[in-house]
């Protein structure tokens, strides 16, 4: 009897677990709550995955506050030769306030695609605004199964006030283990239900309407002040260290290369948000004033030290303290697969006297477009140094070329400007908006304005801008917008084909070939193949042209036979291969010139006539070909 009693007691104690399990099962069965896994199947692209729009909700108490990131599709099964990069981080990492192609990862993507035109790159940005290392850790640990070739990380500024951070969470914010337990528990629908019920009670108690008055915000911010060296300050550093260390350890165990950047923030052009009164050595405002005086005197070393000190003492910790960069440095020393990306050094190199300010940054932490180009350059150089993609980087696109060619439209750029005006008008910047100019707004300004207030989506803004440039007969503008769209939608062959056509109309055959090849790789089609082999023959690349010519001959949509041309190009390839091993053989260069002339390719013919005449200026055949060429031109 006693034995049975103990058995009943044991079963009774286990019953709550069973009841909770049953409740969880019922909630799932009836579709309550959300699945928080990082990736889901892309409903628009079969065989592709995208970031789950609910993945971030786990990190926000109120799911309504949860921020949403990019939806950049990538293949469920990684294709051979693809270099897959995942990007983790916060608002700077996702390109705030520009987003889309303003983001550093798009600059990097564009540069890598042009440096390695025959490689396929997948750069998937999983960054979100308002998050910190908890989200980076949570997302990062789910990446192992998706075959990353590299992980890029830029995070740390939101450590205190970002989601679940020590400065934005009630009582347990300073205990990473407990916070992680709660994050894990939020996977359960029962916990989601509990959270919603408690949220409802909280709202009822505090009143439904949130008071947005500035005074209230100021008062609350005062409660969130984090003095330098305080307990909360150290808890923030510890939280960052714990999350990043475990993530680096995990990637290390799986031999995944990690590139983690140190952080940059405004030093000279942003006065501290909140300063402690009294003692000058502890006053951020006083340190900032002294830094400005040193700067005016030309003592830049002292100025830099004091500007950094002012940032360290700022009680509103929107800029990461130096200790965060120290943690990053320690991690890179600890794990061989982790490389430090020295973004700070790059920014210092491109800033007057090595002091960071408005030349590269918009406000406290977010770079301007120039800054984002520099951030991409820092990661690009780190990838190059580690020889992760290839050993040979000789045909690279330089930073200057990148800045010249990167398809950032005026609308993208203006959107950033307008977004900043709105941001700075409010707390804690409180900078009044400049009076509106009394003149008619340009189309670009109208579109950027509509984009900022969310009247238009980015796609609609680009479509309207493209239509505007086409109406204005501005092919250069139209090409830029089309390139921007192809960067945003890299799996849509239509944008590449259109960019190819526009490049041809602008007499940019090299660029046209680049776009058309991308279009053909995604969706082989006769018109694309036709444009490609014609352009490649013009560029004297017959071996490459042959591939597309064969395809065009097999899928011919015209009444003209391509067989003769195919035979001719095959001969041309053979002659050219012989010529490449004997470049002083005039007979061969003449043969190439004559071949091109037969099909009215004046550029190709002229190139080889010139080569023949350089070797033998009196060569009769070459001279005759030259006169034939002149006749064609006349």
């Amino acid at each position: 009897m006693k034995k049975r009693l103990w058995l009943f007691k044991g079963l009774a104690v286990l019953l709550p677990v069973l009841l909770l399990g049953l409740a969880e099962g019922f909630l799932r069965l009836f579709g309550y709550g959300q699945d928080y896994r990082l990736f889901v199947e892309d409903p628009q692209h079969n065989g592709f995955l995208i970031m789950n729009q609910h993945a971030s909700e786990r990190y926000f108490t109120e799911t309504a506050n949860a921020t949403v990131g990019n939806f950049e599709p990538f293949r469920q099964r990684k294709a051979d030769g693809t270099f897959r990069i995942f990007v983790l981080g916060e608002s700077t990492t996702i390109g705030y306030p520009y987003f889309h192609n303003g983001s550093f990862h798009r600059w990097l993507h564009y540069r890598l695609m042009h440096t390695f035109p025959n490689r396929n790159f997948e750069i998937i940005n999983l960054s979100l605004t308002a998050v910190n290392s908890y989200t980076v850790f949570g997302f990062g640990k789910q990446l192992i199964d998706y075959e990353p070739d590299a992980i890029l990380i830029y995070t740390g500024h939101n450590e205190y006030y970002g989601a679940m951070g020590v400065g934005s969470t009630s009582s347990l914010g300073g205990h990473p283990a407990l916070v992680r337990l709660v994050l894990k528990l939020r996977e359960f629908r029962l916990m989601q239900l509990l959270n919603r019920m408690l949220g409802g009670i909280r709202k009822t108690v505090s009143g439904e309407n949130v008071d947005l008055r500035e005074n209230l915000m100021k008062r609350m911010a005062a409660d969130q002040q984090i003095p330098y060296g305080s307990e909360a300050y150290h808890q923030g550093i510890e939280q960052f260290k714990t999350n990043l260390n475990e993530l680096c350890q995990l990637f290390s165990e799986h031999h995944i290369p990690v590139l983690i950047s140190n952080l940059v923030s405004n030093e000279k052009d942003l006065k501290p948000f909140i300063s402690a009164p009294g003692n000058a050595a502890q006053s951020a405002q006083e340190q900032f004033k002294q830094a400005q005086q040193a700067y005016a005197k030309g003592d830049f070393k002292a100025a830099k030290n004091r500007f950094v000190r002012a940032k360290e003492l700022d009680l509103l910790r929107f800029r990461a303290p130096e200790a965060i960069n120290q943690v990053i440095q320690e991690l890179t020393a600890q794990y061989p697969n982790v490389t430090e990306v020295d973004t700070r050094a790059v920014f210092e190199r491109y800033s007057p006297n090595g002091i960071l300010g408005h030349e590269t940054l918009l406000e406290h932490v977010h770079p301007n477009l120039y800054g984002y180009a520099l951030l991409s350059d820092a990661f690009y150089e780190a990838l190059k140094k580690r020889k992760l993609i290839a050993a040979d980087w000789t045909n690279e696109l330089s930073l200057a070329q990148l800045r010249q060619h990167m398809p950032i439209t005026s609308v993208d750029s203006l959107k950033g400007v307008f977004e900043m005006l709105i941001l700075k008008e409010g707390w804690p910047f409180n900078e009044p908006m400049p009076p509106e100019e009394k003149r008619a707004k340009t189309v670009e300004e109208q579109l950027a304005g509509a984009l900022v207030v969310k009247q238009l989506s980015w796609r609609d803004a680009m479509d309207q801008l493209l239509a505007h440039y086409q109406n204005e007969n501005n092919p250069q503008g139209a090409l830029q917008v089309t390139e921007a769209l192809s960067l945003e939608y890299p799996y849509d062959p239509g944008f590449y084909a259109q960019a190819g056509k526009l490049s041809l109309s602008l007499n940019q055959p090299e660029q046209a070939v680049w776009h058309l090849k991308k279009a053909f790789d995604l969706e082989p089609a006769f018109p694309t193949a036709q444009s490609l082999f014609i352009s490649l023959l013009k560029l004297d690349r017959p071996d490459e042209a042959l591939v597309y010519l064969r395809y065009a001959a097999a899928h011919n949509e015209t009444q003209f036979s391509l067989t003769e041309l195919q035979t001719f190009v095959e001969q041309l390839v053979s002659v050219k291969n012989r010529y490449l091993t004997d470049t002083t053989n005039v007979a061969l260069s003449n043969q190439l010139a004559a071949g091109y002339l037969k099909f009215a390719n004046a550029d190709g013919a002229a190139k080889y006539v010139a080569k023949s005449l350089r070797t033998d200026p009196r060569n009769a055949v070459a001279l005759q070909l030259k006169s034939q060429l002149q006749a064609i031109k006349n």
Partner: protein
């Protein structure tokens, strides 16, 4: 059958053995949720970065 009947009787009379753990578990989960709630300032700060 006899076993189940006896167990049911036990549950009805000795509620503390299963009801208390259930309450404690729910209270613990609620406490964790409340103590890791975002501060009232959080939504405003989120819009800054």
């Amino acid at each position: 059958m006899e076993f189940l009947r006896e167990f049911w009787l036990f549950m009805r009379t000795r509620k503390r053995y299963w009801l208390y753990p259930l309450l404690i578990l729910l209270l613990l989960l609620s406490a964790l949720t409340v103590l890791t709630t975002g501060s009232a300032l959080a939504p405003f700060i989120y819009s800054l970065f």
